[in-house]
Amino acid sequence: MVKKRLKKGSFIQRVMIAVIAAVICGFILFPIAWLLITSFKSSAEVFRIPPTFWPHEFTFEPYIKTWQGKHLGGASPWGIFVLNSFKVSLPATFLTTLISSLAGYGFARFKFPGWVILLMIILISQMFPGPALLIPISELISAMGLYNTHLALILLYTSFAVPFTTWLSIGNFRSIPEELEYAAMVDGCSRIGSFFRIALPLSRIGLITTAIFAFLMSWSEYPFALILLERNELKTVPVGLGDYVQEFNIAFNEVGAATIVLAIPIFVLFLLAQKYFMKGILGGALKE
């Protein structure tokens, strides 16, 4: 309806829409585009005082330099950082998905004393902002002997993601008819069997959403990785990037290249699982 009227709309109207759309795109995309462009400039060009818009000399030199890591002693740290990020994010994603679907199933299917209080404990924990817990969590991790280990981050990211994903999965399991499971149980399936064989396969869209959410969160997390990892060979990409910007804050073509490295897995994930993304990143805030 609205569309039709606009197609008929006057020339001025259409120009106005085009201009506003261009301004929005400019504001939203320029910072990223600028970094991308910079990452293809040679080091000499980055220092040019009226900044050049398009690289005079299109070069992959920053990527190669970043990857070789000459400035960091030539130990190719970014490869290690990327590997570390995967080492942390993938187990955290798996653990989050497992724990939250178990819990979601428990809350959706069982009635037991303390149901409300336990759910409240899980949900309310999202209200505590991360930075205020920096001190006690670092103390706890040190006391557990997990300082400077990836396991610490895996457990932490899981605990940060679980409250929200549990809530998502309660909704998922509620939408699966319980009769299907009763039928399986009549045929001799146990509760756990019916969880793994019936409920879990049926809720796979929810599982993908959960996994995407958990992966994005643990891939991007910065403050806790910053305080819990001290040794260079353990750092994740965000920490490496943060150090890099603060120590060598001139070579922005290389910083740009490193940033693109951090962004690539997210782009890939976005292209592969686009339709699950909205729900995952908007945190189920959309009405269904």
């Binding site: 609205v2 009227r5 829409i17 929005i24 504001f27 939203i28 995309l29 910072p31 990223i32 600028w34 970094l35 910079t38 005082i49 900044p51 724990i99 939250s100 819990a103 428990g106 299917r109 069982f110 037991f112 409300v116 899980i122 999202q126 209200m127 505590f128 930075p131 205020a132 817990l133 001190i135 006690p136 969590i137 103390e139 706890l140 899981t158 605990s159 940060f160 409250p163 929200f164 809530w167 509760r191 891939w219 991007s220 910065y222 403050p223 305080i227 990037l241 943060g242 910007v245 001139i250 922005f252 951090l262 962004a263 997210i266 993304f277 990143i281 908007l282 945190g283 805030a285 959309l286």
Partner: protein, 314 residues
């Protein structure tokens, strides 16, 4: 990015569920549920609630890594924090940060969402592209804007300097710095608001507009009396999501300015980090954290109060 919405949802549902569960319990109670939920409860209690209690305990001590031994000093630490000028400055900055960050993100993002909802050629592409800032890690937002603000080589600095005709060191300007960082925050959060508004408008039943058209309403009236009342939902969700995101944010400020120049862009999360990991005053950092909690708690109560009408309506 950890949207804590569910809390609000749960609040709406609990009353009903509570009553239902209470009666059904008497009929059938199935303890197998504990097995399923135990791992989630355990990990949340261990890594969120236990640290919270440790934090409360620490905040009454004068613990510092520079001086051995932990002494119980009661409210002394709190007094010290409140009298601290840097604390008051960062509290003020935090309040500015959250109030203006939320308002601007909602205003600009909401405007973009409403604009996209008119559905012109290419609006679908824009609403997909607009996801980018929200999708990418915080640290990328910080790095890319830091580069544009760079005093000698940044493109924004260059444009402003050639317009003003004199040298302005953007991130070193004590009056400007917080606002410049707010732009980053808005850039990152406006897309979220616009998607919320867009989906809110798209979920309005078409019949309403058709009925209004039959009654002879023009497009302004349709917008005023149909679209705007339906925006209350995205507005509440947006306020909650965005302000809680801002409360949790540490990266944008830390990576761009580290709270500087001096403490002019210090917000409470970076101040807590500085106290705990640079000055090693753990007790003081814990006390600051507790005050930050109180700040957040009062903010949540304020939300409950402000939105009480919409709350009951839904």
């Amino acid at each position: 990015m950890c949207p804590p919405l569910s809390f609000w949802w749960a609040h709406r549902r609990f009353r009903r569920i509570k009553i239902r569960r209470y009666f059904s319990l008497k009929k059938k109670s199935n303890l197998g549920g504990y097995l399923f939920i135990s791992s989630a409860v355990a990990i949340v209690v261990l890594f969120i609630f236990y640290p919270l209690f440790v934090s409360i305990k620490l905040s009454f001590t004068s613990k510092s890594f520079l001086i051995p031994g932990t002494e119980f000093v009661g409210l002394e630490t709190y007094k010290e924090v409140i009298l601290d000028e840097v604390f008051r400055l960062s509290l003020k900055n935090s309040i500015k940060w959250i109030v203006f960050g939320t308002l601007l993100s909602l205003g600009i993002g909401g405007g973009i969402g409403i604009f996209l909802s008119i559905g012109f050629k290419g609006s679908k592409t824009i609403s997909a592209l607009i996801l980018l800032p929200w999708l990418l890690p915080n640290i990328i937002a910080a790095v890319s804007w830091k580069w544009m603000y760079h005093p000698d080589l940044g493109v924004i600095s260059f444009l402003i300097e050639s317009l003003a005709g004199k040298e302005i060191r953007l991130l070193s300007n004590v009056n400007l710095v917080l606002w410049l960082l707010l732009i980053i925050l808005v850039w990152r959060l406006a897309p979220l608001a616009s998607l919320l508004f867009l989906s809110g408008i798209q979920s309005i039943p078409k019949e309403l507009f058709e009925a209004a058209e039959v009654d002879g309403a023009d497009s302004y009236q349709k917008f005023r009396y149909i679209t705007i009342p339906h925006l209350s939902y995205p507005l509440i969700i947006g306020t909650l999501l965005i302000s809680l995101f801002i409360l949790k944010d540490f990266t944008i400020v830390w990576v761009t300015t580290q709270g500087g120049p001096v403490h002019y862009s210090e917000i409470l999360p970076t101040y807590i980090y500085r106290l705990g990991f640079y000055n090693w005053e753990v007790g003081k950092a814990a006390a600051t954290s507790m005050l930050y909690f109180i700040f957040i708690l009062s903010l949540s109560l304020a939300y409950l109060f402000v939105f009480r009408k919409v709350w009951r309506g839904t």
